[in-house]
Every structure is written in C-alpha cells, then in structure tokens.
C-alpha cells in the first residue's frame, strides 16, 4: 500500500542553524501539507501546497519557513534559522480527494 515517507526520523540542530525536512508524498497525490506538533500539544496546520505554489498558510508559517517541491517526488520544509520553540514533531501529508495521508513524522530538537 502506498504511503507517505519522511526523512530524517530525528534531527538535532543548534539554534540559528538551517534545517530541511524531507517528505515523499504518495505518487499520484496533488495536494501536500505540513503540520507540526509541539510535545504534549495538539497537531497544528502549517501550510498547504498545490500546483507548485502555496495555497494556504497559517500564522505560524512566517518568513523563517519555506516549502518547495524540487522535483517530481520530494516535498521539503525549510526552517532558515531555527529557534528553541521550533522543537516539535513535523508531519507531512498528501491527498487527492478527501482523506489526508500522514507520514510518520520528523522529530526536530533545537538546542
């Protein structure tokens, strides 16, 4: 069964460093998403992406964040200069119609 994959599963970085989180959505899906979950809290929407552009973003998704689909398979989230409060689990999701399928997440720790 096709699934969304994410790499790395864990990333530890120093405050101020740039990180790139990678996702491979399900191959025939057209809509892509990033969500995050701070430890002990609920999952929050960050951004949605369709037809090679951002279709919607939340107030969390400020200028420090960017997304890209560099080729036909990968979907990336870049955080330019990480802060301590960026420590969270980041989930990628994709869909065609209706149901969103989530990847296993990348746990980001900023020291």
């Amino acid at each position: 069964e096709p699934e969304v994959t994410q790499t790395p599963s864990h990333q530890v970085t120093q405050m101020g460093q740039e990180v790139i989180l990678r996702c491979v959505p399900i191959s025939n899906h057209l809509y892509f998403y990033w969500y995050r979950q701070i430890l002990g809290q609920k999952v929050e929407f960050l951004v949605s992406f369709y037809n090679n552009e951002i279709s919607e973003k939340s107030e969390i998704f400020d200028d420090q964040f960017s997304v890209e689909r560099p080729d036909g398979s990968n979907f990336t989230l870049k955080i330019r200069s990480t802060k301590l409060e960026d420590s969270a689990m980041y989930f990628c999701a994709s869909r065609n119609e209706g149901e969103q399928f989530f990847g296993p997440g990348t746990r980001l720790t900023v020291l």
Binding site: Y31, V43, S48, F91, P104
Partner: protein, 110 residues
Amino acid sequence: GIQVEQSPPDLILQEGANSTLRCNFSDSVNNLQWFHQNPWGQLINLFYIPSGTKQNGRLSATTVATERYSLLYISSSQTTDSGVYFCAVGGATSGSRLTFGEGTQLTVNP
C-alpha cells in the same frame, strides 16, 4: 476558524471494556478523520468519515454532520489501544486544512 472539541480529555479503562470518544465541531465539514497517535508519535489513520458509519474490527465511527459531532467506539479494549486519539476536521469554508482537537488520552490497564 472551525473549532473542534474532544471529550473526555482522559479515559482510563480495564482491558475488555468498551468506550466512546466524542468530537464536536463548530461548522459544516467536508472532511473528518480519526487518528491514533502511538507511543512513537506516529499518527495512525483510523477512519475517514465526513458522514455516516464505518467499522473496522473492534473500532467503529459515526459522524452526524447535521448535528456537528462524531463518535469513535472502541469495543473489547486492549492494552495496545492506549495512546492519544485525535479527531481532525476540514471545514467547508476553511480550505483543505485539517483542524485537530486536543485529543483523548486513553489508558487501558491489564
């Protein structure tokens, strides 16, 4: 934006018991999904159920869209059912983003 409320926030059961988790939402929805978050933090899709009733083994779910709620039933609970259960909704007027509830923390004791 759309509001999602889940109840109860915490639930402790003995193995073999049945339970019902509730999700209320504040607006019309075109997407509703139930997830189980396992101890490793992964979100496991349980149901995609914007309306109607579905069953999968010991789990079933019902969404009454006109009354703006969904229920997740767990029968004959097992210790492996422990974890956080999230309801997430996509509103008809809020784009395609999912808005998650705060979750129900379920603990099943042997």
